[in-house]
C-alpha cells in the first residue's frame, strides 16, 4: 500500500489537522462543529435503535432522517459558502445560500414533525 509506516500516516494527519485549523474561516468551523454534532446525534439514535428495537419505526425514521437531512443541508451550505467553490456557484451569494438553507430546513422539519406523529 501507499502508506509506508504509521509515523508517516500520523505525520500526514497532523499536517492536515494543522492545515484545517489554520486555513478554515471561523464561520466554516462553526458549521463543522454543527455537522459533528449532527453525526453524533445520528449515531446515538442509530445505536439506540439497534439496542432497543425499532418499534415506532416512523419515529425512528423521522428522527434519524432529520439528522441526516440537516447534515446534508448544512454540508450543502458549507460547500456553497466555501470560497474554493466560487467557480461552481456563480451568482449565488452567501446570503442567498443561507436563505436557501433556511427554506430547506423548514421543509425538512415540517415533514419530520408530520411524520413522527
Amino acid at each position: 500500500s501507499s502508506i509506508k509506516n504509521t509515523s508517516d500516516a500520523q505525520q500526514i494527519a497532523i499536517g492536515v489537522w494543522n492545515n484545517y485549523v489554520d486555513r478554515t474561516p471561523q464561520r466554516t468551523k462553526l458549521l463543522d462543529a454543527f455537522l459533528l454534532f449532527l453525526v453524533t446525534v445520528g449515531v446515538l439514535q442509530f445505536v439506540y435503535c439497534v439496542i432497543a428495537g425499532n418499534f415506532p419505526f416512523n419515529a425512528f425514521l423521522a428522527g434519524f432522517s432529520a439528522t441526516v437531512g440537516q447534515f446534508v443541508l448544512t454540508a450543502s451550505l458549507r460547500i456553497q459558502t466555501n470560497p474554493e467553490n466560487k467557480s461552481d456557484f456563480e451568482g449565488l451569494s452567501h446570503e442567498r445560500a443561507f436563505a436557501d438553507y433556511v427554506f430547506g430546513s423548514l421543509i425538512l422539519h415540517f415533514f419530520c414533525v408530520n411524520f413522527i406523529n
Binding site: I3, L61, L73, A75, Q80, D88, F89, D100, F111
Partner: protein, 767 residues
C-alpha cells in the same frame, strides 16, 4: 436567443418591428401569446368526446377516482384520509385512505373549493371531467420550461410545447373525461424534471427543495413516481461515472433525496417503501455514494499526496462494492422487499404471463407494436433519435439527462403499451431540439462576409488560397458575365432556405392534421356509451351500460351485493352505487379467483359460493347479439386461469377446450364449458330471439346449440336493450330444503315417467 440576436435575415422594416427598441419585449409578448395559444390548442383538442357525447367520466378506473373525489368533497379531507369503504370487496372492505394515491382527488377538491370561493359553484363532475385538459395545458408549459433549459435555441421550447400539447401519445390518457392519475402525473413528471435540471445547473438548495416538493406531489398522484426515483439517481450516477461530479451535483442530489424521501413517506400508501423496497434502493445507494465521493473530493483538496488520492479512490470503490453486497444480502435475507411483480415484469417480460395472470390479463400491459409508435408520435419518432444524437454532440449535465431518459423510456415503452406515456415527453423534447436546430441552421444563418475588397484580400490572401484564386478570377473577368457570378445554390441561398422551411412547415402542418385525426377517431370515445354509425351516416348510441347500472340503482335494495368480473367493479360502484365483490383495484388475488371460480364452475358449485358471499345479483356482459367483442365470454379464459391459480384441482383450463384445443361455444363446446355459470348466464334465453335452431353469436361467429342452457339457481332480473348487460338474481334456498336444481326439475315436471318406487341409498338420520 443569442443566435437570433446576432444574425438575422429579416429585412429592415421587419427588423425594426421585431428588433427595434422594444425587441426583447416584443419577443417576450410573442412568446407569451404563442404559449397561450398552445395551451388553448392542447385543451381544445381534448374536448372531442365532451362535444360529441356528453360530459361524463370514461373508462373504468376514473369512476373510482370520481367516487373518491365526491366523497372528499362531501365529507371533508380528514374523513377522506381515514375512509374505510365498505361498499367494495364486499366481505372485506377496502381501507381506501391507505390504498390510493390521493393527489388527484385532493387537486380537484381544491379546485372545487377555490372555484366556490370565487363564487363560481361548478359541479364536481365537470371539474373532474375537465381536469385532464386543463393540466395538459400546464404540461405544455412545463415542457417549454424544461426544453429551454436544454437548448439555447429560441424555438426549441416552443416547438416542444406544441408537440407535447397535441401529441396523441399523451392525449390518449388525458382526454376530457379521462379522470385518471396520469392526468396530472405527466405534468408533475415534466415539471419535476425541469426543477431537477435547474437544481443541477445552479446547485441551489432551493431548487432541490422545490424538486423534492413536486416529487412529493408526484408521489401522491401516481404510482409511476418510481420512474423518477430511479431516473434521477441514475443521472447522478452516470455523471459521477463520467467524472463530472461537482459540488452542485452534491447539493442538488442530497437535498432532493433527503427532502423527497421524507415527502414521499407522508403518503400512507407509500409508507416505508422508500426504505424497504428494492425499487427505491438505487436512490439510497447513490445517496451514500455521493456522500463518499463528496468526502473524497474534499479530502483530496486538502492532501498534497497523489498516493493518498489513489488510496481514497480504492476505498470508495471498496465501500461501494461492500454496500452493494450488503444490499444483495439484505434482499436475499428478506429485510428489503424484492422487486414487486409489476416492476419485475418490466425486466423479465415473460414473468407476468407465467406467474401473475392478473397482470398479464390487462391489455395495456402488452408489448408495443411498431405501428403504435408512428401512430402516437408521427414525425416525432424519427426526429427523436436525431435529437438524442444532438445531445451527444453537446454533452452537458442536462443533455446526459435527456440521453438517459430517452434510453430508459424507450425500453419501457417497448415492453409495455401504457408506458408510451412516459416516453412521450422526452420524444417531444428531443424532436423539438432536432427540429429547432434545423430551423436555426437554415433560416437564421447568414452568408459569411464576402472576401471583401481586392486590397484587403490581396494582403491576407496567403492565408486562404482558394479565396485568393476566386478573388483573382473575379478581378480578371468583368462582372457582366453571368457565368462568373457566384452560384445560386448552397446553404446560404434563399432557395435552400425556402425549401427547408417549406418542408418543415409542411411536416408540421401534417403533424397537426395527424394528431387531430388520431385524437378525433381513436382516443375520443367514452367506453361507457358505444357509438355506431347507421347506414345513412347518422350516429347511433348504444347506452346499455348505463341503462343496466341505473336499473340496478333504482330497482334493487341499497345494500344488494353485485357480483361481476373485476373490470366492472368501479363502474358498478360509481354508477349503480351498489356494493361489489371485486373491482379494478386488484389487491386481493384470491378474492378475484373466488369470483372467477364461481363464474367458471357448475351451478351446484357456484351457488354455495355466491350464498357464502351474500351475493344478490350477478352481472355479466354479453356482446353476442351486437358483436361487441369485449364481453365476458372473451374474458372468460382469464377468469379460468386466475381461478386455476388458486384451485388447480377444481378449475382446469384444459376442460374448456375441445379435444382439438379449440375454444368453442357452439355444439362442439365441452360439457364443462356448457355447464359453467358464465356460459349459462350469457346464453340464457338467447335462442328465443331467433327462429328455432338459428341462434347466432355474432362475436364468436358461431351457431349456438338448439337447446339453450337452463338456469335453476339464478333467475333473470334484467337484460338491457341490446343484451349487452344481463343481470341475474340469486335465488334464495328452497323452502322445502331441497337442492335448487332438484326443485327446478320438480317445477318443470322434469320426469315424464313415473319413477319406480325404489329405496334410495339413504343414510341414517343423525339428530
Amino acid at each position: 436567443m443569442a443566435v437570433a440576436d446576432s444574425q438575422s435575415i429579416l429585412p429592415n422594416g421587419a427588423e425594426m418591428f421585431f428588433k427595434g427598441e422594444t425587441g426583447r419585449n416584443t419577443r417576450g409578448l410573442l412568446r407569451l401569446i404563442i404559449l397561450c395559444t398552445i395551451a388553448a390548442a392542447a385543451v381544445a383538442s381534448r374536448l372531442f368526446s365532451v362535444i360529441r357525447f356528453e360530459s361524463i367520466i370514461h373508462e373504468f378506473d376514473p369512476w373510482f377516482n370520481f367516487r373518491a373525489t365526491k366523497y372528499l368533497v362531501q365529507h371533508g379531507f380528514y374523513n377522506f384520509w381515514d375512509w374505510f369503504d365498505d361498499r367494495t370487496w364486499h366481505p372485506l372492505g377496502r381501507v381506501t385512505g391507505g390504498t390510493l394515491y390521493p393527489g388527484l382527488m385532493v387537486t380537484s377538491g381544491a379546485i372545487y373549493h377555490a372555484l366556490r370561493a370565487l363564487a363560481m359553484p361548478i359541479d364536481i363532475r365537470n371539474i373532474c371531467v375537465l381536469l385532464a385538459p386543463a393540466f395538459s395545458g400546464l404540461t405544455a408549459f412545463a415542457t417549454y420550461l424544461f426544453t429551454t433549459e436544454m437548448s439555447t435555441s429560441p424555438s426549441a421550447g416552443l416547438l416542444a410545447a406544441i408537440f407535447m400539447g397535441i401529441a396523441p401519445g399523451y392525449i390518449s390518457r388525458s382526454v376530457a373525461g379521462s379522470y385518471d392519475n396520469e392526468a396530472i402525473a405527466i405534468f408533475l413528471l415534466v415539471f419535476t424534471f425541469y426543477l431537477w435540471i435547474k437544481a443541477v445547473k445552479l446547485g441551489s438548495v432551493m431548487w432541490g427543495a422545490l424538486t423534492a416538493l413536486f416529487y412529493g406531489y408526484m408521489v401522491s398522484a401516481w404510482g409511476g413516481y418510481v420512474f423518477i426515483t430511479n431516473l434521477l439517481p441514475l443521472h447522478a450516477f452516470v455523471l459521477i461515472c463520467m467524472g463530472r461530479f461537482s459540488p452542485r451535483l452534491y447539493v442538488s442530489y442530497t437535498t432532493w433525496y433527503a427532502l423527497g424521501t421524507l415527502a414521499s413517506m407522508q403518503i400512507p400508501f407509500v409508507g416505508f417503501l422508500p426504505i424497504r423496497s428494492s425499487d427505491h434502493m438505487a436512490a439510497l445507494g447513490v445517496f451514500g455514494l455521493i456522500q463518499l465521493v463528496g468526502g473524497t473530493e474534499y479530502i483530496r483538496q486538502q492532501l498534497p499526496s497523489k498516493q493518498f488520492q489513489t488510496l481514497l479512490r480504492a476505498m470508495v470503490l471498496i465501500i461501494f462494492v461492500v454496500a452493494f453486497g450488503l444490499l444483495v444480502l439484505l434482499t436475499v435475507s428478506g429485510t428489503i422487499a424484492p422487486w414487486s411483480g409489476r416492476f419485475y415484469s418490466l425486466w423479465d417480460t415473460g414473468y407476468a404471463k407465467i406467474h401473475i395472470p392478473i397482470i398479464a390479463s390487462v391489455s395495456e400491459h402488452q408489448p408495443t407494436a411498431w405501428p403504435a409508435f408512428f401512430f402516437d408520435l408521427n414525425m416525432l419518432i424519427w426526429l427523436f433519435p436525431a435529437g438524442v444524437y444532438m445531445c451527444f454532440r453537446q454533452l452537458k449535465d442536462e443533455q446526459v439527462f435527456i440521453v438517459i431518459y430517452a434510453v430508459l423510456a424507450s425500453y419501457f415503452a417497448g415492453v409495455m403499451v401504457r408506458l408510451m406515456l412516459t416516453l412521450t415527453p422526452v420524444v417531444c423534447v428531443a424532436a423539438a431540439m432536432a427540429l429547432s436546430q434545423i430551423l436555426d441552421t437554415f433560416t437564421v444563418a447568414t452568408e459569411p462576409a464576402p472576401p471583401a475588397a481586392e486590397g484587403t484580400s490581396q494582403s491576407n490572401g496567403h492565408a486562404n488560397g482558394s479565396a485568393n484564386i476566386s478573388a483573382k478570377l473575379s478581378s480578371a473577368i468583368p462582372d457582366t458575365l453571368r457565368s462568373t457570378k457566384s452560384p445560386l445554390v448552397g446553404i446560404y441561398s434563399y432557395l435552400s432556405k425556402s425549401l427547408i422551411t417549406g418542408a418543415v412547415t409542411s411536416y408540421l402542418l401534417l403533424f397537426v392534421l395527424h394528431c387531430t385525426w388520431v385524437t378525433s377517431n381513436a382516443y375520443s370515445s367514452p367506453s361507457v356509451v358505444l357509438a355506431s354509425k347507421l347506414p345513412d351516416g347518422s350516429q347511433h348510441i348504444i347506452d346499455d351500460y348505463r341503462e343496466a347500472y341505473y336499473w340496478l340503482r333504482q330497482n334493487t335494495a341499497q345494500n344488494a351485493k353485485v357480483m361481476s368480473w373485476w373490470d366492472y367493479g368501479y363502474q358498478i360502484g360509481g354508477m349503480a352505487d351498489r356494493p361489489t365483490l371485486v373491482d379494478n383495484n386488484t389487491w386481493n388475488n384470491t378474492h378475484i379467483a373466488t369470483v372467477g371460480k364461481a363464474m367458471s364452475s357448475r351451478e351446484e358449485v357456484s351457488w354455495p359460493i355466491m350464498r357464502q358471499h351474500e351475493v344478490d345479483y350477478v352481472l355479466v356482459v354479453f356482446g353476442g347479439l351486437l358483436g361487441y367483442s369485449g364481453d365476458d365470454i372473451n374474458k372468460f379464459l382469464w377468469m379460468v386461469r386466475i381461478a386455476e391459480g388458486i384451485w388447480p384441482d377444481e378449475v382446469k383450463e384444459r376442460d374448456f377446450f375441445t379435444a382439438r384445443g379449440e375454444y368453442r361455444v357452439d355444439d362442439g363446446a365441452t360439457p364443462t364449458m356448457r355447464n359453467s355459470l358464465m356460459y349459462k348466464m350469457s346464453y340464457y334465453n338467447f335462442d328465443k330471439l331467433f327462429p328455432a335452431g338459428q341462434a347466432q353469436d355474432r362475436v364468436r361467429g358461431s351457431k349456438l346449440p338448439a337447446q339453450g342452457p337452463e338456469l335453476s339457481t339464478l333467475e333473470e332480473a334484467f337484460t338491457s336493450e341490446n343484451w349487452i348487460i344481463r343481470i341475474y338474481k340469486v335465488k334464495k334456498p328452497d323452502n322445502l330444503g331441497r337442492g335448487l336444481i332438484e326443485a327446478g326439475q320438480f317445477d318443470k315436471g322434469g320426469k315424464k315417467k313415473k319413477a319406480p318406487k325404489r329405496r334410495g341409498a339413504r343414510v341414517l338420520r343423525v339428530d
